[in-house]
Amino acid sequence: MVKRKTKKKIGKTLKFIALAFNLVLVLFPFVWMLLTSLKGTQGEIYAFPVTYLPKKPSLVNYSSMLWKGNFGRYMINSLIVSITPAVFAVFFGVLAGYVISRYKFRMKGPLLLFFLITQMIPTFITLAPLYQMLSKWNMINKLSTLCLLYTNMMIPFSVVTLRSFFDGVPVSIEEAAWIDGCSRTKALFMVSIPVVKPGIAAASIFAFINSWNELFMAIMFIDVDKYKTIPVGLNALILKYDIRWGEMAAGTVMSLIPTMILFAFAQKYMIEGLTAGSVKG
């Protein structure tokens, strides 16, 4: 009996050590980026052996990104092209997801396949034709174009996620509303949508994060500095032969801020949204 207890205790300690080690591994790259960004002199940044803690923490890298570079502008652009799809892709996703979940119709199977296949098409095969099409329509170098493309990018995921959330809502509550004389549209907005709020939150956050992170379309369709998003701005820095790592680190850290804020407040919804589709099957 005693032996079993000590065995259990050892197991628990080992588990704790493993989890702690893992946490260090996960967080280290971020901490390292932060530390690098706070080092004021080139000598300190490129020292070998490495000096881990900045001798005199300085914000010079941040200020040079913000004032010498155009990073503040990039941040605003990134926000615009991320919030728009978080609203529209999810709105369209609610409409379609609801119908797919609630109604029987002939094209349902093919329709789901339609959304699934979009996820398998590599972006790159569409880039060249898109470029031609958009330049014909005079849509190159416009933030609204990125908003549209990112909305398009996030529609399939939103539809599928919201459909699985609607599947979890019993039809009976809508039927009750219909009996009370509610129209279909009204029942959707007044009864069903409030119930799937967690799904809407999850889909919006996904749309925001994915648009915030998108690089290749932004490089392809934006080459005017005032419309660049953060990834495009950082891409220009990393393509240089001589990367200035202090500034690069500062830019990286700043680009992580919205993601961190979302994580701090809405992580529960993200995990729910991610696991909803597949765990429920």
Binding site: P29, T126, L127, P129, L130, L149, T252, Q267, G281
Partner: protein, 301 residues
């Protein structure tokens, strides 16, 4: 009778308009460009030579598979196999192991999960930048740690050596992909009914047996799905390589999709589209085979 018909029409109209935006937008901005792109795969289509676009049948594919020493496409394909295989294996096993440790909730486990889940929300491009700095050949922190522990004597040019650049990218990719599996499998494990384990206790089964006979079968569908999603995803994921090595040195760390991105950037749209078509073809075949194989196993038990 008439009103019933009208009711049905109204229902159909409702369905139609609700689906409209979610269908039309991808049709215009994903499907149409894809079809045009597929057409380009059979054309000599280079923006450097825009006056001279013509059909060349399978010419682009022949060029890709050409047997010559300057052709790096074979290396690229072999790299893709390593990239997907090695990354997936370690992401899955480590992710699974962590999920087993996290299955039982403990004080602070929600916060812990949140922290280790964070990398998942960061773009592959940013992750690549971070690891590029850590793998830096002259002042990288990884070299520093290895030197301090006397595992190496001199700093290694991880990303500038042909022999280590792909490996470095794979290490970063493993690190990046573990949280996904951890989160998905933890959620699945917590859904396994406790009674199943209790029944095993009665039978006196040990932990290994419980794992094989209860845990794995209960979460089988999640495992099958997450692995499939992940394979497609890793395959289609050039972002990390793009920012970490740019496919270099000399194309030695390219995978098929980063290779394609380079072709797009060099404006050879015809050749790039040919690669893209191969990717789509491969992913569709893979998905069908994978789903058939796993469903087959499903009906057996």
């Amino acid at each position: 009778m008439k009103s019933k018909l009208r009711l049905k029409q109204r229902k159909n109209l409702f369905i139609f308009f609700m689906l409209l935006p979610a269908v039309v937008i991808p049709l215009i901005f994903t499907y149409y460009p894809m079809i045009v792109g597929s057409k380009m795969a059979f054309q000599s289509y280079n923006l450097m030579n825009i006056k001279n676009i013509k059909w060349i049948g399978l010419g682009n594919f022949a060029k890709l598979f050409e047997r010559s020493t300057s052709n790096s496409f074979y290396t690229t394909m072999w790299n893709t196999v390593k990239w997907v295989g090695i990354s997936l294996f370690f992401q899955f096993t480590v992710g699974f192991a962590l999920a087993l440790l996290l299955k039982k909730k403990f004080k602070g486990s929600a916060v812990y999960q949140g922290l280790i889940f964070f990398p998942w929300a960061v773009s592959g491009f940013i992750i690549g930048i971070m690891w590029r700095w850590m793998f830096n050949g002259t002042s990288g922190v990884i070299n520093d740690i290895l030197v301090r522990f006397h595992l190496i004597e001199q700093p290694i040019g991880w990303l500038s050596e042909k022999s280590t650049s792909l490996l470095s990218a794979i290490i970063a990719n493993i690190w990046y992909g573990i949280p996904f599996f951890t989160i998905m499998i933890t959620a699945a494990l917590r859904g396994v009914p406790e009674e199943l384990y209790e029944a095993c206790d009665v039978d006196g089964a040990n932990s290994l047996k419980k794992f094989i006979y209860v845990t794995v079968p209960s979460i089988r569908s999640v495992l099958v799905l997450t692995v499939m999603m992940r394979i497609i995803w890793i395959f289609n994921f050039p972002d990390l390589i793009y920012s970490m090595t740019q496919g270099g040195p000399a194309g030695s760390s390219n995978i098929i999709t980063s290779y394609m991105m380079q072709l797009v950037q060099s404006l050879d749209y015809g050749l790039a589209s040919a690669v893209g078509l191969l990717v789509i073809l491969f992913l569709i075949i893979f998905t069908v085979l994978y789903l058939t194989a796993t469903r087959f196993a499903n009906s057996e038990d």
